[in-house]
Symmetry: C2
DNA sequence: GTCATTAGCGAAATCGATTTCGTCAATCTG
DNA sequence: CAGATTGACGAAATCGATTTCGCTAATGAC
């Protein structure tokens, strides 16, 4: 019942191979025949079966998005990333398959590669450096083009799209300094993340440039694996002998949590304490006060990731490494330092 | 180089057909042979090519999510829906393909069907009733199982998963009434949406039950196609001779916008005016004051949609229509009516 | 001991496209 | 005008699995 290439061929009195070549615009088909084929195809609404096509062409025209992280923790970012990827993929007539639960399982990644279900993958939130390199090598061995996102992977052979976290942290820190702050708290994550190192470097650089001494007691490493680590992190800063007058939290959700904790304790933001986050998620714009943050365009990273992946699929030999600028969103949660 | 079923067969000295049958647990293969095949498959890391499998089985083990709406307008909902769908799909070893830009194009939908790329589709945000029925009929003609979401489609032949919008509006209205409000504004959308009708019915029912007369001047239809219609809508309510003391906005983003407009004008929420929205998106929890809303579990709807789709794919003849309960999130943006 | 079953396996067809290669006629070359 | 080239098309192989069908040997029935 469903219509195949043979139906078109029979109807026109030509061979199926001719129909195929006409549809794929090969040059050993006359213009007239192409016209006739295309007309009939339109008329009958013929569409090649995807499976048959992929099997023969050894190409699926699909790409995968592998979310290598508990998905609920990265919802906001994903909500922007996916439209970006989808829009760009669409332009190249690629389809997008979502893989949400192969976190940390090389076996599943290998299966994915060998099934040849996709022509390439975008890996969102790679694990720590060592694991990421191992993952990249696995993918390469399996001939699966891939791009990591949104983290820098300091290794020559690995393609990634990242945001310029160092610049973001530097801008944000300088913003605090410009407001008169001298004791600026900085939340860090477990050491395994490049993003953490980059931001820390930016923070430090801004301090140096302003001639402010780096104080280890203003920097706290949070254990992000704990359920309500946001509360603990906030308290850590406040319990210092000389608490900071401004705090840079590693992510917006944590900063938002800090906003309400501050309110509960009668700490006025920004009068008594300035608070800022990173990522510029949607919610950060509607808090009271609105949260100062550093915005990375997830949509833009998505577009770029697809473009890079396409180049790799088309055989680019050299890895692609891009770092996108970020933008400081100076809003109401940061203000002049108390004098 | 990549390893195929023939490699496994050769290595074991059996026929490819035997390998296939062993892997698919057919019963005309001895237990011993199954063991041997599976061991070799594990050892060599063999994974069947997806395209070859789909082509022969006429089944792709993939489902599609068709987002029939400008994606940026439904980001928050999608951010919850997709994990729900993905998690449930995963359980049945289904993969999820995203289609974001076939809005309103029957041609593209038809192509999708005929390519047999997916075994079924979940259509998020169907268009208005007439178009939805037409779309459903198109899909049925093309033998493509489908479920609509998250709207009721009052037609016997159409499968859908919806939230109980009538109940939500009723609960929310009663909440306002309990707080002493008598003039309760209600924002409507263009008439084409069932959700609008359902909520309106719930609103009306709550009024009736409380013996409060329905006043047309407290109900305003917003033109959601305009860019900043939120502002206009808010002003419409305030410009009434007798403005409402509480307003139910159709969506959370609009309600959130109303919160800041109120602040700009020195209207205290909830002291002077109570404001509530619908959908219970993440952002609604962090506004100041936090927004009262009616929450629909997008994740749950996603799970259910996949389950229903599976039943339809497996040949269920009768359409599946489910309405999920919603939950009132009574928060700080609603309070006692001014006396 | 004979005949009917059954269990287990393999050969070959099949899914529906694309690609390679060969054929034939028309055109060009000198 | 003979021979080389080109243009347009078709036959058949191919991608890699699954499924059908037939065969053989082993088991069972009586």
């Amino acid at each position: 019942m469903p219509i195949t290439i043979d139906d078109i061929a029979t109807r026109l009195g030509v061979a199926p191979s001719t129909v195929s070549k006409a549809l794929n615009d090969r040059d050993d088909v006359s213009a007239r025949t192409k016209q006739r084929v295309k007309a009939t195809v339109r008329e009958l609404g013929y569409q090649p079966r995807a499976a048959a096509r992929s099997l023969r062409r050894q190409r699926s025209d699909k790409i995968g998005l592998v979310v290598n992280y508990p998905i609920h923790m990265v919802r906001d970012f994903l909500a922007e990333l996916i439209p970006g990827i989808a829009a760009r993929a669409e332009e190249s007539e690629l389809h997008l398959i979502l893989y949400t639960s192969m976190a940390g399982s090389p076996e599943r990644v290998k299966s994915l590669c060998r099934s040849r279900e996709v022509d390439g993958v975008i890996v969102a939130w790679p694990p720590d450096f060592a694991e990421t390199v191992a993952l990249s090598q696995l993918l390469s061995r399996e001939d699966m083009p891939h791009v990591f996102l949104p983290r820098r992977v300091p290794h020559d052979c690995v393609s990634y799209i990242a945001a310029d976290h160092a610049q973001g942290a530097r801008d944000l820190t300088r913003h605090m300094i410009d407001l008169g702050h001298r004791r600026i708290g900085f939340e860090r994550l477990p050491e395994v993340y490049e993003t953490d190192r980059d931001r820390h470097a930016g923070y430090r650089q801004a301090l140096d440039e302003a001639g402010i001494a780096y104080r280890a007691d203003l920097v706290a490493r949070a254990d992000s694996s704990q359920p309500d680590y946001a509360t603990r992190s906030f308290e850590t800063f406040l319990s210092r002998p000389q608490p900071p007058t401004a705090i840079l939290f590693f992510t917006d959700p944590v900063a938002i949590r800090a906003l309400s904790l501050a309110k509960e304790r009668g700490i006025r933001v920004p009068d008594d304490l300035s608070i800022a986050g990173f990522d510029g998620i949607m919610s950060s714009g509607v808090t009271e006060p609105a949260l100062t943050s550093v915005w990375q365009s997830a949509a833009e990273m998505g577009r770029l990731a697809v473009e890079s992946l396409l180049r790799l699929i088309d055989g680019a030999a050299t890895p692609i490494q891009r770092t996108l600028p970020v933008q400081l969103l100076a809003r109401a949660s940061t203000g002049d330092a108390a004098t």
